[in-house]
């Protein structure tokens, strides 16, 4: 893709404006809603799940995260500050050796990454990790 300098500055400004406006419109609430929709409003415990994310990510386009929740049926990942807070859902089958996975995600800016594990007994466990992002990975 070839962009002239003028176009680049133009799109960057539009993107920056979008990001400046959107957080004040309550992106975090969007994440809360998405989480509530998943858990059905049930309380979540802090034990039984581990989320490993870097403290500082230089490039928001690829941030490697690792999540582990022994015995969980499903693990769902949210990025609270992204335009669409849903990131991925891992469903573990009978052949899984552990309820853990590593993947790479995009982060629009500094925000909380949330992992929620659904246990076979219907309870939920939650882990939160704050990630500072030097360059956002949202393409704005």
């Amino acid at each position: 893709m070839s962009l002239t300098r003028r176009e680049f500055v133009g799109t960057s400004l539009t993107g920056a404006a979008a990001f400046a406006v959107l957080p004040s419109m309550g992106l975090a609430e969007g994440a809360d809603e998405a989480i509530a929709a998943y858990t059905g409003g049930a309380a979540t415990s802090d034990a039984g799940i581990t989320l490993i994310a870097p403290e500082i990510a230089e490039n928001g386009n690829t941030v490697q995260i690792e999540v582990s929740a022994p015995g969980a049926e499903e693990i769902i990942i949210f990025a609270a500050g992204n335009p669409n807070p849903n990131v991925a859902t891992f469903k573990f089958g009978p052949m899984a050796g552990s309820q853990a996975a590593t993947t790479r995600i995009r982060l629009a800016g500094e925000q909380d990454v949330v992992a929620i594990a659904k246990m076979p007994d219907g309870s939920f466990a939650k882990a939160v990790s704050n990630v500072k992002v030097t360059i956002g990975g949202c393409g704005g």
Partner: protein, 109 residues
């Protein structure tokens, strides 16, 4: 439309019965989020892989649903427990209906 989509899988060839083995997968794909704009200000339509499934001898190891927040060239690392010799099958489902497949055999002694 995604081009040159190449799945790559790294799984062990041999293991002992009951061993937990680590599997790594990478597929080259732009994962266009649908948020970006081109030079004329038009939104570039979303085009991502939305699901990845790994099975061993037909039984699910992991089934991942993906959203646009997954980075370009989706990478996954996870573990599988192998009791017998068999085949890992890996399937990726694209937004445009394409399905990409790969497999890896493992011998259990």
């Amino acid at each position: 439309m995604a081009e040159n989509v190449t799945p790559r899988v790294r799984a062990p060839r041999e293991a002992s019965a009951g061993e937990v083995v680590s599997v790594r997968t990478l597929i080259s794909h732009p994962m266009e989020s649908g948020m970006r704009r081109d030079g004329d200000g038009n939104t570039i339509p979303r085009s991502i892989i939305n699901r990845f499934v790994c099975t061993f001898n037909g039984e699910t190891v992991v089934d991942v649903t993906m959203e646009p927040s997954i980075a370009t060239n989706p990478y996954f690392q996870f573990e599988a427990k192998v009791m017998e010799s068999g085949t890992f099958n890996f399937t990726w489902y694209d937004d445009d209906g394409s399905v990409y497949e790969d497999s890896s055999d493992i011998t259990v002694s």
